[in-house]
Symmetry: C2
Subunit: 335 residues, 2 copies
Amino acid sequence: MNLRRIAELAGTSHTTVSRALNNSPLVARETRERIVRIAEELGYQINAGARGLSTGVRMTVGLLYSYHPGRQIASFYTAQLMHLMGARLAARGFDMMIEAFDPGLDDLTSVVRMIRQKKADGLLVIGYDISEKLATAITSVTNKCVFVNPAYSPWIHRYPAILIDHRWGGKLAADAFRKRGRRRCAAVAEDDPQFAERVSGFAEEFERDSPEYCGTASQLVLRDGTYETAYALAESRLAELASYDGIFVASDVSAIGVMNALLDNGIPVPDQVGIIGYDDVEWIHYTRPPLTTVHQPKAEVAEAAAAEIVERVFEERTESSTHFYKPELVWRGSV
Amino acid sequence: MNLRRIAELAGTSHTTVSRALNNSPLVARETRERIVRIAEELGYQINAGARGLSTGVRMTVGLLYSYHPGRQIASFYTAQLMHLMGARLAARGFDMMIEAFDPGLDDLTSVVRMIRQKKADGLLVIGYDISEKLATAITSVTNKCVFVNPAYSPWIHRYPAILIDHRWGGKLAADAFRKRGRRRCAAVAEDDPQFAERVSGFAEEFERDSPEYCGTASQLVLRDGTYETAYALAESRLAELASYDGIFVASDVSAIGVMNALLDNGIPVPDQVGIIGYDDVEWIHYTRPPLTTVHQPKAEVAEAAAAEIVERVFEERTESSTHFYKPELVWRGSV
DNA sequence: CTGAAAGCGCTTACAG
DNA sequence: CTGAAAGCGCTTACAG
C-alpha cells in the first residue's frame, strides 16, 4: 500500500494524497476527507523512511545509555529515565531507538553510528561517566545531541546538557542530619566528579555550623558503585563507621550495601548510625529500615531532555545550554 | 555525503561504490579497497533509510512493552530484558525502537504503528497481560511478531512466543519448602493466568507427597502486583499467614510486601514463616533476609526472542512456534 | 568487473 | 486547488 494506490482509489494524483494526509491547506476539504477516509479504512500510514528521505527528518531520536559490561543494566534509575523520555518523545511524535555504549571504549565510531546512518535525527546521551573526549567526538559529528545527567565539570557548559544540582543534593543530606541532631558524620562515595559534587555540597553545608564533620576518609572511597563493594568496604571499616552519628552514601545501591553491612554486624540503623542515600530508586522503601534519600527529579529531566533534543532536531537552536534541576530530600526511616 | 560523492572521489560510478560497501563479490579487490578507504576516512556510512526503501528491510525491530499507566515503569524485570534484547539484536546488526503500550486500551492502532509506518521490520511484544484480542490484532497486520513472556493460555500456541514454564517454577518452590521441612504452606498471587500457572504448579507438586497444602484462600488473592497491595493484604490477614510454615508469593515485589508486613509485625522470617518469591529481580538480595526466589532465565529469553524475530524478518520462517524456558530456584535466606 | 537506468515511496517547487 | 516532474540516496536487473 502506498500513496499511489490510495490516489487510484480516490481518483486523484498521489501528490494530492500526500498533501491531504499531511494536512496541507492546499487541498479542498472534500478531497481531503475522501482521501483520509480511504486511508483509514485501509489502515494506511505514510512510509516514514520514504518521507524521511525526502524531508530529511526521520522523527526518531537515538538514546545512548552508558553501560559497564558485566552489569545487568546501567541502573534502574536509567531504565526509569528511558521510559519517561520515551513517553515525552512520543508526545512530540518521535520514536526512540535505544543502544548501550561502553563509556570506557576507545573506538567511538559506534556511538555516532545512528547519526551517520541517518537512522536518528538526534542523540540523547545518558551517563555520568561521559568524558570530554567522548563529548567532543559526538558533537564533532552532530550538534543535535543532548547530554543527560553528565557529571558536573567545567567543560560541560560547552555542550547542551541536562544536569542535576548534586551539590544541592549533598546540602540537603547535611541539613537532614543536622535536623536530627547528628553531629559526627562522614560521607562514602565513588571517586568520580559526579559524586565529588554531592560530597562537597554535603561537607560545605555541614561545616557551616561547625559540627564535627569527619570528612571522607581515604578508606571511605568506593572502587565502584556496586552493592558488593559498598558492603565489603563497610565491613572492613566497621569500627570506624559505627563511631559516626550519620553516614551519607552518595548512591542508593551503595547506601544499602553500607546499611546491610552495619545491620548484619549488629549495629542498629538508625538508632546508632543514621544513613542517607542518593537517587531514590523505586524499590528503596522496601528495605528495613526504609532508606531516607535524595530524590532525583526524573520526570523533569526527561521532559527537559525531550524538549531540548526536539528543538535541536528542528534547528530552532544550536548554541549550547545547560539546564539544572534541584533534587529533594525524601524522609523515610534510616535517619 | 552520499554514494555519489564517494564515487566522484574514487573515480567510479555510485553503483560500484554501493557494491564495494556492501561486500559484493562483483567488485575488483583493488577498487573495493580504494572505495572502503575513502569511505572510512570520511566516516561515511550508508544511509539506512534509503537502503531500507530500496531493499525493504530496515534492520530495526520495535520493542513494545506493556505498561500500566500510573506505574513508573512496567518492571525492572522488563527493563533488564530490554537491555539484553537490545544487545542480542545489535549483535545481529539490528537496532531496537522501544515504546510502551497500555494493554487495556481498546484502540490498538498505535500498537502496530511502527509496522504500518515501516519504521520497524518486526515486533517484539513483552508482557504477560497480552489478550487474545491484542495478539490477533497485531498478527493480522504482520506475521513478523514474537510475543515474549505472555501468560500461558491455550490460544498462545497459535502465535510465535517465548514463554517461561511457570508451572515448573511453582514446582521448584514447593520442592524447596519440602526440603526445608515446611509442611503447612500457602500461595499468594494475583488473579491472572500467568500467576495461576505458578500457583497450580506449586500446589500440584506440594500435594504429591500430601503435606498440608493450605491452598490459596480467596483472601490471599492480590488485586494487583504492587508492593503496597501485598503489604496491606498480609497485614489484614496476619494471624492466618503467621500460622503457615511457608508462603509462596508469585512475584518478588509482592513477596517483599508480604515479608515486610510480617517482619514489621514481629513475625520472624524465616524462623517462623518461610517465604519464596518469583522473578529474581536484581536488587532482591539487598533485603534482610535476602529473598529465596525463582529465577527467570532472562538471558536465554532475550537471545531466543532476538533470534526468532530476526529469522522472521528475513522470512526464513513464518509458522508459529512456542519456546519454553525453565526457571531455576535461587536459595538465599528467606526459607 | 563496471555502469546507466529504473525503481523503492515519499515531498515540494513549479506551472497551471 | 491540482498534477506532472524532479529529487531524496540507495539497490539491482540488465547490458556490456
